[in-house]
């Protein structure tokens, strides 16, 4: 069985030649059909960059230094731009992190969903609005017709995120990139949103690459997980395995440093700075190798 997404040995640097910073240093991962894979890392690990590379939404000053990104067997990096763009939203969708800045503040919710549906699915104006009503009902929005008439600032953060989730699944994509979709939400709302994502995934049969810094969120929604640090994959396995028997010292340290509401205070051990330093110096050694070329 081929993976829906197969990223192999991906190198990405940000900035101009001479002053470039490597953000991905040979990262590889696969997401199978219908699989939910967690991509875990702290800020600066490169997890969002990997997601953006898959979507073709890297910042302008980013340079892909090597590697392949295969989606349903075809290399996205070798594909002509128009063809790649045609996949976006339809076959590969995004649930963005910040629901406030991802919706247009001066257009009504319904108009924004309808534009997307008319463009992607060539629906008529009327059909697009009817479909929008169904989509909002699917993400448990009580009065979909009323909400369609509202502006983004008139609905709550949790509801905005649900609108974006509905839009992501609207065209039955085979891959959804979820980039920290619950980070800005309260825990009770986060749980509802995670339940929704799982429900829609089951219904639409999409695979999800779930980017997050929260090991708790990964434990609840992802069957498999990849741990990223300094642009490299440090650990990767079934979530239950990684959490029960983390192999890489970084994963072990991360778990020990995560505060838990079910355990008393004594259990916490911060990540040893020496470990982080050694991981970074290893990464920088790799950078020099890359600059010098293989010996």
């Amino acid at each position: 069985m081929t993976a829906v997404l197969a990223v192999h040995d991906l190198h990405v640097a940000i900035g101009r030649r001479g002053a470039a910073a490597n953000v991905l240093r040979g990262a590889s991962l696969e997401v199978g059909a219908g699989e939910v894979r967690g991509l875990v890392g702290e800020s600066g690990a490169g997890k969002s960059m990997l997601g953006r590379a898959v979507l073709g939404l890297l910042p302008e000053n980013a340079v892909i230094g090597g590697g392949t990104i295969r989606f349903e067997g075809r290399d996205l990096l070798a594909m002509p731009e128009p063809e790649r763009r045609s996949l976006l939203g339809r076959r590969i969708a995004l649930i963005p992190q910040d629901p406030m800045t991802s919706l247009n503040p001066v257009r009504r919710v319904g108009a924004q969903i309808a534009v997307m549906l008319r463009h992607q699915l060539a629906l008529s104006r009327h059909a697009a609005l009817e479909r929008a009503v169904e989509l909002l009902a699917e993400v448990a929005i009580r009065e979909p017709r009323r909400v369609l008439e509202l502006y983004p600032h008139e609905i709550s953060g949790g509801m905005r995120q649900r609108v974006l989730i509905a839009m992501a699944f609207a065209c039955d994509p085979s891959l959804v990139i979820a980039d920290e979709p619950t980070t800005a939400l309260d825990v009770t709302v986060q749980r509802q949103v995670l339940q929704l994502v799982e429900r829609l995934r089951q219904r639409h049969g999409a695979a999800i690459l779930f980017i997050t810094h929260d090991l708790g969120v990964v434990a609840k929604i992802c069957r498999t997980m990849t741990v990223l640090h300094a642009g490299r994959v440090r650990d990767e396995a079934e979530t239950a395995d990684v959490l029960a028997r983390p192999r890489h010292p970084y994963t072990r340290a991360l778990l020990a440093a995560t505060p838990r509401a079910d355990r008393p205070a004594e259990a916490l051990r911060p990540v040893p700075p020496a470990l982080i330093e050694s991981l970074w110096s290893e990464a920088h050694r790799l950078d020099r190798l890359a600059v010098a070329g293989p010996a």
């Binding site: 993400v139 799982e198 090991l215 990964v218 505060p259 911060p270």
Partner: protein
């Protein structure tokens, strides 16, 4: 002298809203409602709530950045709820606040050494330039920052270093009471643990009394002796940490606790029959 350093009685605060008419009294929105808290000397109280629960407003009342609409605040047996700015001034050295976002609460144009000693300067406790540098160095040392940062600007620091700097500045005047508002929520797990342990150490060393505001119950369990759970501006439940976490009484506390995703695989966690899903089932049936 009691052993309660800070006590609030029926503390309330309301924001005036825009009036529909010039001649009508503007309507008010109550964000803190009749809150009774007692913080024993040397203890840490966790103030937990979701966004909009009024926890930040309550924190600002406690340090008297806001004036209560009604009710009282007793600090060291003195009523401070109604005091004016001049009367508050001596108290300001004893009560400090650490802010959520060190990026925006440190002056970007001042070197760290100057920022850290600014409170001392304002209260006339500095004796010249050498004293300032010595004090700044001592403060950096206290929060585990290298001395070399003394002439650095905030943007040259990492997020964790900036938060340490925020803590150092709050400690400059050697206060008895500190309100810390969501001070670890923007940090990575590896940095967050270091800051939490630093706070625990400082608390033990300096005998600080603290109110620690957070939306994250896991963090609160780590640092606090007591917890108060806020919902819509009201304290719905409060008590010792062990009791609240092991035997929560209020439905909202239980809901908050069960919503925390612990880093364990738990198959049933996502298919819960919460009210949200009742409406979903109705919606899809229609």
């Amino acid at each position: 002298m009691t052993d309660i350093l800070l006590r609030t009685s029926h503390l309330s605060f309301a924001y005036p809203q825009r009036s529909s008419s010039l001649f009508r009294r503007p309507p008010v929105r109550e964000v803190v409602k009749r809150v009774d808290l007692a913080v024993p000397r040397g203890s840490v109280l966790g103030l937990v709530g979701e966004s909009g629960s009024g926890k930040t407003t309550l924190g600002r009342l406690l340090v008297r950045l806001l004036r209560p609409t009604s009710g009282g605040i007793q600090f060291d047996d003195v009523e401070i709820g109604r005091l004016g700015e001049a009367e508050l001034r001596p108290l300001r050295t004893r009560i400090q606040m650490i802010f959520q976002d060190p990026q925006s609460s440190l002056n970007p144009r001042l070197r760290l050494g100057v920022t850290l000693t600014r409170p001392l300067q304002i209260h006339g406790r500095l004796n010249g330039r050498q004293d300032q540098r010595d004090r700044a160095a001592a403060l950096l040392d206290l929060v585990g920052l290298p001395n070399s940062l003394i002439d650095r600007y905030p943007h040259e620091l990492s997020g964790g270093q900036r938060q340490r700097a925020g803590i150092a500045r709050a400690l400059a005047l050697e206060p008895d009471f500190i309100v810390a508002d969501e001070i670890v929520s923007g940090l990575d797990v590896s940095t967050q643990a270091h800051i939490l342990l630093l706070l625990r150490e400082l608390r033990a060393r300096l005998g600080l009394t603290m109110v620690f505001i957070s939306h994250d119950l896991s963090v609160v369990r780590l640092l606090c002796d007591d917890v108060a759970i806020l919902q819509h501006g009201e304290v719905v439940e409060s008590g010792p940490v062990a009791r609240i976490f092991n035997a929560p009484q209020h439905a909202y506390t239980r809901q908050l606790l069960s919503a925390i995703p612990l880093p364990d695989v738990e198959p049933g966690w996502l298919d819960d029959s919460s009210p949200l899903f009742f409406s979903l089932k109705q919606g899809s049936a229609a």
